[in-house]
Amino acid sequence: MRILKGWLVWWAVTTVAMAQVTVTVPGAQKRSFAVTGFVGDATLAVRVTEVLKNDLQLSGYFSLGTAAEAEFIQQGTVRANGNHCQVECVVLTRATRRAVLSKVYSGSQQDLRRLVHRISDDIVQTITGQRGIAQTQIAFVWRRGGAKELAVMDYDGHNVRQLTYDKSISVRPRWSPDGRKIIYTSYKSGFPDVLEVDLYTGQRRRLAGYPGLNTGAAFSPDGLRIALTLSKDGNPELYTMDADGRGLQRLTRTRGAESSPVWSPDGQSIAYVSDDRGTPQIYLIHHSGGEPQRLTVSPSYNTEPDWSRPPAGSNLPPMLALTSRVGGRFQIGVYDREQGSVRPVVADGADNEDPSWAPNGRHLVFTKTQQRRSRLYLLDVLANQQVQLPAVDGDASEPSWGP
């Protein structure tokens, strides 16, 4: 009886949470903003201006224009002091000439981009009340030659750092909610294992190395549990375990393969892929197991779910992005619970896959493959705008947007 009650509550909560998907959201309306640039050190000013314009454009909240027309006007100064620099940034409303932001930022010149990302996030926060994404990072799979290594870059594709040097296959990175760890699937042992890398210490350890398949690991929103796919007890099934690999618990028992788990924003349920009833489709299950509920029906191939977690204060509902296969091509879609259907959001004839939400719940990073080259793109879901990130040598795929 208690179990049934718990189930009803869970069902009600997820139903309500997902019913909001079709709500139209303010924020798609862009505010006009003029970046007038910076006085002082001319060389640095050019770089700061360029990064700030790019950040504000990528944020999706602004259309950049001239000071004569814009609602907001940015002014500032840059001073170089040896290896350090100091940037003062002021943002005024054109109508009242009142400063809504006035702040001094300092840092080393090597970290100039990071410093400007801080400015950009402050501007976004001040004007929209929403959390910016300019200081976030993206992990991805970097293929050069025969090997696939993990790398991390800033959200705008700059400042790429390679994480692994295994000359093996490292795939499907996922961040811990605190941004400290990345868990991923490594073939370093010759078999697929789930490893964890601590970004602070560089320490790696194996979290799951059972016989057969160990892959698809994803942290719960509180960072305490990990959902993953294992095949040690039969065909690929879903499990959860503690963040240190202990406390294994099996969730599914099917004849098909379960893969790609992602936690709901409230941590109560897990969406995943199963081909138990034919082609791969998205299902939902309570985090402690039970009867799965099928979400998607068409298109005939839906995989790679990623559930957005909009921050507190966001107007956006949680959204479930996925990769469909239509007409022999991969396209990114968003599942609409009310309609029970998948709305395509990136369907342009190229292969688009691996959607991963930004922490703002508005932007996606994904892989676009054209002429056999895979590159990472950002999508502003509200503005429906794609931007290609600066390309790395070789191919980039399976991105995961950090917290």
């Binding site: 696939k148 010759g190 697929p192 890398v197 790696r204 016989p211 995989t303």
Partner: protein, 180 residues
């Protein structure tokens, strides 16, 4: 058990051979590196992992000695698109594998592979199901399941780098690797 002793001895030999060095895979396409003791690959922390399986598991334990792997002894088993069903045409290949495992204690690694037309993680699961389908067939043919380990590579290692049906058909496969 004999195979356990053998595995232990092989592990010791290999451990001596690979300290600080690189082992090459038989097919020459991939070079596998042992865990470096620096640059984050702390071997001490890698030993503090949960116990790997137990006696009640279905899957066989993994052979550790990659240097002794024999590749290419057997015909790959091919599959239909998005399917893990063993086709009647492929049964004779599995019978050959089962016959070769009789009268010795060799271990078998079954690698499951997919064509490029599935998404990456789904293909990892599909490749595992293919390897398991081949394993189940071998068990039917009398092979002890504890001698078999599965390894899915999804679409990471195509046999044919083409992008047409002829290439895809060669890539939807299981490969068999013998390990001492």
């Amino acid at each position: 058990m004999k195979s356990k002793e053998l595995a232990r001895i092989t592990m010791m030999v290999v451990a001596v051979l690979v300290v600080g060095s690189v082992t090459g895979c038989k097919n020459g396409r991939w070079i596998w590196q042992k865990a470096p003791t620096t640059a984050g690959g702390s071997t001490t922390s890698e030993t503090s992992v949960p116990p790997l399986g137990g006696t009640d598991i279905v899957a066989g334990a993994r052979p550790m000695a990659m240097g002794d792997w024999q590749r290419g002894e057997f015909q790959p088993v091919y599959f239909d698109y998005d399917s893990a069903r063993i086709k009647p045409s492929e049964l004779v290949k599995l019978q050959a594998v089962a016959a070769a495992l009789r009268g010795n204690t060799k271990r078998l690694i079954i690698e499951g592979h997919c064509d490029e037309r599935g998404t990456a993680e789904y293909n990892r699961a599909l490749g595992e199901r293919r390897a398991q389908a081949a394993r189940d067939e071998l068990v039917q043919l009398g092979v002890d399941p504890s001698r078999i380990t599965t390894a899915s590579f999804g679409k990471e290692r195509p046999a044919d780098f083409g992008h047409d049906e002829a290439a895809w058909a060669k890539n939807r496969r299981c490969e068999f690797v013998l390990a001492n």
